[in-house]
Symmetry: C2
Subunit: 284 residues, 2 copies
Amino acid sequence: MLYLVGLGLGDAKDITVKGLEVVRRCSRVYLEAYTSVLTVGKEALEEFYGRELILADRDLVELEAEEILKEADTSDVAFLVVGDPFGATTHSDLVLRAVHAGISYRVVHNASIMNAVGCCGLQLYSFGETVSIVFWDDDWKPESFYDKIKKNRSMGLHSLCLLDIKVKEQSIENLMRGRKVYEPPRFMSVSQAAGQLLEFTLPTRVVSTGLTEDTLCVGVARVGAEDQVIRTATLRQLGSCDLGPPLHSLVVTGRLHPLEVDMLRLSAAPDALAHLEVEDSSTS
Amino acid sequence: MLYLVGLGLGDAKDITVKGLEVVRRCSRVYLEAYTSVLTVGKEALEEFYGRELILADRDLVELEAEEILKEADTSDVAFLVVGDPFGATTHSDLVLRAVHAGISYRVVHNASIMNAVGCCGLQLYSFGETVSIVFWDDDWKPESFYDKIKKNRSMGLHSLCLLDIKVKEQSIENLMRGRKVYEPPRFMSVSQAAGQLLEFTLPTRVVSTGLTEDTLCVGVARVGAEDQVIRTATLRQLGSCDLGPPLHSLVVTGRLHPLEVDMLRLSAAPDALAHLEVEDSSTS
């Protein structure tokens, strides 16, 4: 049996009781280590689980999946994923390989940012399509994320923006020379994401239902961890904030319900709500 | 401290290790019992947690919240919610009352249907606004859920439909006579939801980007439990399916990626994919 086990978002204790039982009884336990991170490292997980973990990078999962699935028809193998196994990044490919090899699979679900972001006070019902914001570089500045945010906003919906993660990336030079030397991991911060979005508010841009510097956003960092941060602020304010270590995510708000406004006040920067036009709230 | 603890979706062991520690040390533990259900009852939870649970119905949470918050400034109180505390149903109101009473709160996240539905093989990235389908009766047949599904589909997005739950409802007669006699709980099934949606496919309706009897849908039941069911089928086929006990949810698909089609095949009814037009998949 192949078990896909979600680890949740914070630290070692965010695994479910069911998930922990699975980890402790499987013959091999892999830790998917390229699409997200917890606030604790592999060693802390190994100590709490009482099991040795095998790091699974992208190459292993995508190119050598048969290694992970070896003997999973006769014994139990666990594949651990930060968040939920079918959260932001799906592992459909691994599941399909297992099924086609005659191996059963089971999922142990957990929180992922896709639902836990509700902690900021915005209703999950009122989110549109999820958006990925990738790192811009000098030569490549894709803008499709902006179109999705605009579309969501035109319907009054909030946009959850998942921020880019670069793990085990090679420099062009190392890639061309075939050197397996990797750059340090990079995690996009809320201020970097806000900085890229602020470029769309420049006067040289055609602005339709789009963003302004005063658009209300919510930056979240390390959701579910002891030191989680939720910061409600204008896009401009978030452009110069520091929410600390990864992971970060950014929400661009759509139309706000008064109860959402009341919740956002709990985490609002000074003046953040000054430009906000909402219906009067009876509870504020 | 007020702890809002998500219980996940299946049974008692879907609580996180962190959540279980909270439950075991709090002085009072409430179980929110009106917006969702696990596959096990209060007694099974009490036995596994080793704690007595106080059932919190809608009246208690909405009208007598101060009862829940009593002494939470000096001791620890836990409020347990099936799924995630900020999942499909938010408990913003309770949080705001706590904060305004000077009581700190903390959230222990867990899976909710909003992210766990990814287990059907559809990418969470490709879902639009979440939809609630309510029970129709003779006098009241709201159609707003259909408009949202149409809007999502026009953008190629999938629609997660959360299905109505009626707990502690009174009949009109009992309500008028002031008798606190409640009807048996009702949980909308996938076939009931499909039945209501099929009414929009009748020839008397104007169909635009809308549904047909052959629209591919996915019915899910008891996600996360041992006996979970995932059934990919046409809307017509789902109209006569029986996926067993609650809870059920329904997904109306939008534009499908070949990898999504491959995943849907794992749970597809015979002929369900016959009408499907998708790009050729290299992996199928």
